[in-house]
């Protein structure tokens, strides 16, 4: 009988656990997480595939471990006790052998790292599958300080790291993450959403709530850039006496971005206000052209292109499809690259680093050197230092460093205005910092930059004499650039992810920009062109996922609760029965057992 009862009980428990596993479980919280880029590039020569970013998408329900729980493995262990152990552990990354313990510490769990902790160890050790169940990188609220309420500084607290150094470090982290193939899922999450769950204050690192994380992510579909959209706004002047087009000036900017997580690509690339500046310029010149007395002698064509991070694919495609008559009338192409300021010091009217004017020399097209020098002299009047940088174009090198080179190859005179001296500065490629750069564009300086560019253009358009003492500024009072326009454009762009391969023909922000130009009175159109490339980079969709968090307690704790409940029962029994009776009953039980034995 007893055996039967036991087996029945066991069967019941078995069935119930099966049922439990089938039941849907309500999680503690569901949060959005953003997957690290996954891209593939096939080499045209060797046919080899280069995979970048994370190839894995789902994280099964697993326990979490934060950086601090395993950080002790990263401290240098002295081999000889006589030796000095005064080496700074913060600056040196221990050799890979010692880091193996650190990596083993995370086995079977989801590793939760604050962003800047990724510099303390070699992240590529996690690239193999099986090292951990997944990595969750927590992005601090303010990337420029590396310390927030919840995070510990990853720097010497006595020295305040300059923003440039922080930007450098950020660039290092981003290139580390994107240049390798990771077979573990890597996701980003904002600090604000997990600050109440994980405490990164290493003093209280013992007080980690036990959590299980689960991410259901789709591996995604392969995406290549199928089409690029360009937005043109045409501001014409009257035709000349022969009925032909008067000279044209093209002003271009790029609206797309790059980010190591495509779902976090809504930032203003390198704090780029170029799109906003271009829109504001179009508004000012439309105002001038509407008045017959101030109508310029040049046609103006404002263009917004995509694909800038894919070797300026959009611009290339656009220029090959422009009306020949317009192309022949082009006298200058002004490319607006990054126009941004990182310093929030509003009292300073000087731009940090100044501006750089890039143009190409050599070959059949020669830009009149007065053009760059004119820009330089006007910029001095506004208190901005502009450096002129020339570079020869290597015809065999397909890499386009700045946008003007594309126009140069089409035998058009072009210059690029940029905040960057060099084309390969890390932040220029697009960074997580971009997400925060739109939050506080320096008001006065953007007005200054816009005024500068407008005055420069107006000198060409209205053919003013260039005497510094007689410099007549047009763009003041009614024609003063309005920073609100730039800020509103920025605010609008910040809402949309603008990573080229994932953009469709009828993106909302493009339609918004089209409406903006139309509201100024410009003839606007959006054109989408199909792309088919020989060398292709494939990107994978499935860039966003849902993270579910369960709060769990350790088994030991639950066993303790079970023991406490038994104690509670015993105490209750004792209390209700009375002291003497309970003792009597216990004695009886013991006696009965002895008798049975």
């Amino acid at each position: 009988m007893k055996n039967l009862q036991r087996s029945q009980l066991l069967l019941c428990f078995f069935v119930l656990t099966l049922v439990y596993n089938l039941l849907p479980v309500k999680p503690l919280e569901t949060l959005p997480v953003y997957r690290l880029l996954h891209s593939e590039q096939v080499s045209s020569t060797t046919g080899k595939t280069f995979i970048r970013g994370t190839t894995s998408a789902s994280v099964p329900s697993s326990q979490t471990k934060t950086y601090f729980e395993c950080a002790e493995y990263l401290k240098n262990i002295p081999t000889n006790l006589n030796q000095d152990t005064s080496t700074e552990t913060e600056d040196e990354i221990p050799p890979n052998n010692e880091q193996e313990d650190f990596v083993k510490c995370f086995k079977g769990t989801v590793a939760v790292f604050p962003l800047f902790s990724l510099l303390e160890f070699d992240i590529s050790l996690f690239s193999e599958g099986g090292t951990c169940k997944g990595i969750l990188v927590v992005l601090p609220r303010d990337l420029l300080t590396t310390k927030t309420q919840e995070f510990v500084t990853f720097q010497n607290e006595e020295e305040q790291e300059s923003k440039e150094e922080i930007i450098k470090k950020l660039g290092q982290i981003e290139s580390l993450l994107v240049e390798k193939e990771f077979r573990v899922p890597i996701y980003f999450i904002n600090e604000d959403e997990v600050s109440h769950l994980f405490s990164f204050d290493n003093v209280n690192s013992d007080k980690q709530g036990n959590y299980n994380l689960k991410i259901v992510g789709k591996p995604g579909n392969k995406k290549k850039i199928k089409q690029v959209s360009s937005l043109e706004a045409w501001l014409p002047t009257d035709l000349d006496e022969e009925g032909k087009l008067k000279p044209t000036i093209i002003i271009t900017a790029n609206y797309d971005t790059f980010s190591i997580s495509p779902a976090l690509s809504s930032g203003l690339e390198s704090g780029n206000n170029a799109v906003g500046v271009l829109v504001e310029l179009s508004r000012l010149f439309t105002k001038l052209y509407n008045n017959p007395q101030t109508k310029g002698q040049y046609n103006l064509l404002f263009v917004l292109n995509s694909g800038s991070k894919q070797n300026y694919l959009g611009t290339k495609k656009w220029i090959s499809s422009v009306d020949r008559k317009v192309l022949e009338s082009v006298e200058l192409v002004l490319c607006l690259d990054s126009l941004s300021i990182y310093d929030d010091d509003i009292e300073k009217s000087k731009l940090i680093d100044g501006l750089f004017l890039h143009y190409s020399n050599g070959g059949k097209i020669e830009i009149d050197k007065t053009v760059p020098t004119e820009f330089q002299s006007i910029s001095k009047l506004f208190g901005i230092d502009t450096q002129i940088i020339t570079k020869k174009i290597m015809k065999n090198n397909p890499l386009i460093s700045f946008e003007h080179e594309i126009f140069y190859r089409k035998k058009l005179k072009a210059i690029t205005i940029s905040n960057f001296k060099s084309y390969n500065q890390t932040i220029r490629k697009g960074s997580l910092l971009d997400l925060q750069s739109g939050s506080s564009p320096n008001a006065r300086n953007m007005e200054t930059v816009t005024t500068l560019i407008a005055e420069f253009l107006s000198k060409m358009i209205y053919k003013q004499q260039q005497h510094q003492s007689q410099f007549i500024s047009i763009f003041k009072n009614n024609y003063k650039p309005n920073n609100l326009v730039i800020q509103n454009i920025n605010k609008m762009l910040l809402k949309y992810n603008r990573f080229s391969p994932f953009l469709e023909k009828d993106e909302q922000f493009l339609l918004n920009l089209e409406n903006t130009f139309k509201s100024f009175g410009l003839d606007t159109k959006i054109e989408s062109k199909k792309i088919s490339l020989k060398k292709e980079t494939f990107y994978y969709s499935g860039t966003q996922a849902k993270l579910t968090i369960f709060k769990v307690k350790s088994l030991l704790f639950e066993f303790f609760v079970f023991i406490m409940s038994l104690v509670y029962l015993a105490v209750l029994y004792y209390f209700l029965n009375g002291k003497q009776k309970t003792i009597q009953e216990i004695k009886q039980l013991l006696n009965n057992r002895k008798k049975n034995n």
Binding site: L16, T17, Y20, L23, V25, K26, P27, L28, S61, N212, F550, K551, V552, K553, L555, F557, E558, F559, V561, F562, M564, S565, L566, Y568, L569, L572, Y573, L576, N577
Partner: protein, 238 residues
């Protein structure tokens, strides 16, 4: 999370009333009938209450929450009136079963509160305790059901005294008993929970307060019952 927590919760939920019943009714017979009548009375009373509530209670948007309910006067009054059926159910169960008064009282109250805790908390706890997420709510519910047992015993005592006393001792004490019966009506108990939750008192603190109130009611009801029994015995002697 694991079976340990489940066993802990079920032990507190089921074993405690059993211990109490066994100790209170030791060495006495005819326990099973009182338990049976208690269970049947509870089931039928609950069914009738549900039908009446569904018919008369206005629709409310509030979801079922553990301790953060909002107080609505109209629905509270209706639930008070409907839950007075509890008293009727108890009374019928006490009347139906036979045996010594204490057996009947303890049997019916044990059966009533056990049935209530099984139907309300047993299956929910079984599923909830095995979830990956750990939640104290299930243990709190189990301990709450123990407190409900105390309250139910007090309630049953009062019903007994009202039943036996009404026809025999029409004096000032009856008014006091009537009042105490009204105050320990279940809906008022819930009202107190709602009021306390307004002051953001939930979880363990609420449990402690509930226990204090239930224990106070239990002591009061026992004293009333004992004084009634004394009176009865004196009368019999006389």
């Amino acid at each position: 999370m694991s079976f340990f927590y489940l066993f802990a919760v079920l032990a507190v939920l089921l074993v405690v009333p059993f211990i109490y019943f066994r100790i209170s009714t030791k060495g006495q017979s005819k326990k099973k009938t009182s338990i049976l009548y208690g269970v049947v009375a509870y089931l039928l009373t609950t069914l009738l209450k549900m039908i009446l509530m569904a018919t008369f209670l206005p629709d409310s948007d509030q979801e079922e929450a553990d301790f953060t309910a909002q107080f609505e006067p109209v629905s509270a009054i209706i639930t008070i009136v409907v839950s007075s059926l509890d008293a009727l159910g108890c009374f019928l169960a006490l009347r139906a079963c036979s045996g010594h008064s204490e057996i009947r009282i303890f049997g019916v109250s044990f059966a009533w509160s056990s049935a209530e805790s099984i139907l309300s908390f047993f299956f929910v706890s079984w599923i909830g305790c095995l979830k990956p997420e750990f939640n104290w709510v299930y243990m709190q519910n189990a301990l709450g059901s123990n407190i409900n047992l105390l309250k139910q015993i007090a309630f049953t005592h009062i019903i007994w005294v009202l039943w036996k006393g009404k026809f025999q001792n029409p004096d000032k004490r009856n008014i006091f008993i009537w009042l105490s019966a009204f105050f320990i009506t279940p809906e008022l108990f819930k009202l107190s929970e709602v009021l306390l939750s307004k002051f953001f008192i939930f979880g363990w603190v609420l449990l402690v307060l509930k226990f204090a109130v239930a224990y106070g009611l239990f002591i009061t009801s026992k004293k009333i019952y004992q004084s009634f029994e004394q009176l009865n015995n004196n009368k019999k002697k006389n």
